[in-house]
């Protein structure tokens, strides 16, 4: 964990009420995709955790949906504004497990941390495929970015307004993969876990207090004992998760 003063480079609405914030973090390097940062907002008591979406040099990006007072404050951030952040939190995905043809499955803003994963897996020579699911066309994010690193990107929308009509589980057919990585709403991840054979890793989300393991606010039961989502997670192996 590192405590950094990060400077906002840009903060753009990339879909309906969904924003990408790029932050200059200097020398900090995201060790593992799936790790998160915890942002201190001046107007809120607790920090706000966000998985890292991508990193280019000293600039990393996070994607967030405007859902409450904290994220509403974030939408007002301008280039040059500074945030106190804790970076390098959580375990992240295990890239060594991917095999030759990993499949990445993202739901909504849950697609974000899979982008850095796709990039790092592609850099290692894996043939990465992605299935990204959204509610409607106005929610669709990052598909062009995924296309840069993936041999195949399938996009679904629940209402059929973009890509294939249906859920991500409707687009898994014939997806022959060596391993899978999933991030999205819990119900979606559960459906994927039930549908998709083979091993994989899932990034969980829980309300957190500190984000670095001290408060035990996000401890959840798993088949491997109780784990702190912020510290032993947020990424858990498929076999560990109790849905």
């Amino acid at each position: 964990m590192q405590n950094i003063t990060a400077t906002v480079v840009s903060n753009d609405e990339i879909a309906d009420r969904i924003y990408m914030m790029k932050l200059d973090v200097g020398e900090f390097h995201v060790k593992t995709p799936g790790q998160f940062i915890n942002i201190k907002l001046k107007t809120r008591f607790l920090r706000r955790p966000f998985s890292v979406c991508d990193q280019n040099g000293g600039v990393l990006s996070v994607v967030y949906r405007e859902v409450g007072a904290g994220t509403r404050d974030m939408t007002r951030a301008k280039a040059g504004d500074c945030y106190d952040i804790l970076a390098g939190l959580g375990n992240g995905f295990c890239l060594d497990n991917s095999g030759k043809r990993p499949l990445l499955i993202g739901g909504g803003v849950g697609a974000a941390p899979l982008l850095l994963l796709a990039r790092r897996l592609a850099e290692r020579g894996a043939e990465v495929a992605a299935v990204l699911g959204f509610n409607r066309k106005s929610d669709v994010i990052l598909t062009d970015e995924f296309a840069k690193y993936c041999v195949r990107v399938a996009v679904t929308t629940a209402d059929g307004s973009h890509g294939q009509k249906g859920l991500v589980t409707d687009a898994l057919g014939g997806a022959e993969c060596t391993y899978h990585y999933v991030c999205g709403p819990r119900a979606m991840m559960k459906a994927v876990a039930e549908r998709l054979p083979g091993d994989g890793e899932y990034s969980l989300e829980e309300r957190m207090g500190c984000g670095f393991g001290a408060c035990l606010g996000c401890t959840c039961p798993t088949r491997g004992g109780h784990k702190r989502v912020c510290k032993e997670g947020p990424v858990l192996a498929k076999g560990e998760i109790i849905w």
Binding site: C215, L216, C218, T219
Partner: protein, 306 residues
């Protein structure tokens, strides 16, 4: 140079700043961040006889100026703490710690306190009779029950015994008097008072357990008042805790009568909070005209006993 040393129930501390129980685990998550030996002491996570899983999620909610938690005393049990975690902590912290003993029966309190009393790096025992997040009536709200409990624990414990109380008692003085009569050396004030948030979308409480303990800046005046009342009346050692996030807060708390302070929720927001407070405490005391921390204790407390 301002002398930051204080004395707490016979225990000498290099400075009055202590991370509070439940916000610092058993030290392990902070050990890599800074040299823990700069701390006055460390108050360990509340510990029961048996391991406890704690409450269902969500356990955390937020409010203006603070947060609510309903962890529910998740801990590995006193045997694991005494046999493994306390010895392991010595590698990172070479001073005495404050153990926080919890229980659901007199026997359990006695067992936990006895085990801690036998640990060489425990300097003081906090008896937690006011956890906001476990079911059952809190013994800390009943003077007679508290007197009996403290008397029983006292028989088995030779280390200083501080009782951690909730500020919500109708008559805190009556509760405190019962604890002192039972043999308590002093108090930790306050445990987090219970509160609630409701999610209007789900039309139900945010916390799975409904209620949670409130902490953070907004409880500071409540904690300060409790310390002031109890210290003014009894002049016993008090650890002030609740909403402290700056050296100025430490000075206020000590003026009210706190011999030392615990920093809680501030650690969760800024893991370096205690370090920063300790570093600015000397200059802050100097600014208010003090040459030592210990001379501050109780200067603002009421002089006449009522």
């Amino acid at each position: 140079m301002v002398d930051l040393g204080v004395e707490l129930a016979g225990l000498r501390l290099d400075n009055p700043v202590i991370p509070s129980s439940g916000t610092f685990g058993y030290g392990e998550d902070y050990a890599g961040l800074y040299d823990l030996n700069i701390l006055g002491s460390i108050a360990l996570k509340g510990t029961t006889a048996e391991p406890r899983r704690g409450n269902p999620l969500p356990r955390i909610a937020e409010c203006e100026g603070g947060m609510l938690n309903s962890i529910g005393l998740q801990n590995p049990g006193v045997d694991a703490v005494a046999d493994e975690l306390l010895p392991a902590l010595k590698a990172h912290f070479n001073k005495k710690v404050i153990a926080n003993a919890c229980g659901f029966s007199t026997e359990e309190y006695v067992y936990v306190a006895k085990r801690f009393d036998a640990c060489d790096n425990v300097g003081l025992i906090e008896l937690n009779v006011s956890c906001p997040n476990v079911s059952g009536r809190s013994v800390g709200g009943d003077p007679n029950a508290l007197f009996k409990l403290v008397s029983e624990v006292r028989k088995h414990v030779s280390k200083p015994l501080l009782i951690k109380l909730s500020p919500l008692a109708a008559d805190l003085s009556e509760i405190a008097a019962a604890a002192i009569e039972g043999g308590a050396d002093g108090f930790t004030l306050i445990n987090s008072p219970t509160g609630m948030r409701i999610d209007p979308v789900r039309r139900s409480p945010v916390l799975a357990n409904g209620r949670g303990g409130m902490s953070g800046k907004m409880v500071f005046p409540l904690a300060l008042r409790a310390v002031y009342d109890v210290y003014s009346r009894f002049r016993v050692p008090v650890i002030g805790v609740g909403g402290i996030s700056s050296a100025e807060d430490v000075v206020e708390m000590m003026l009210a009568g706190a011999a030392a302070v615990e920093v809680g929720a501030a650690n969760l927001v800024d893991p370096f909070a205690c370090k920063k407070i300790i570093e600015s405490l000397g200059p802050t005391l100097e600014r208010f005209g003090f040459s030592s921390a210990r001379e501050v204790v109780g200067l603002a407390a009421q002089t006449s006993k009522t």
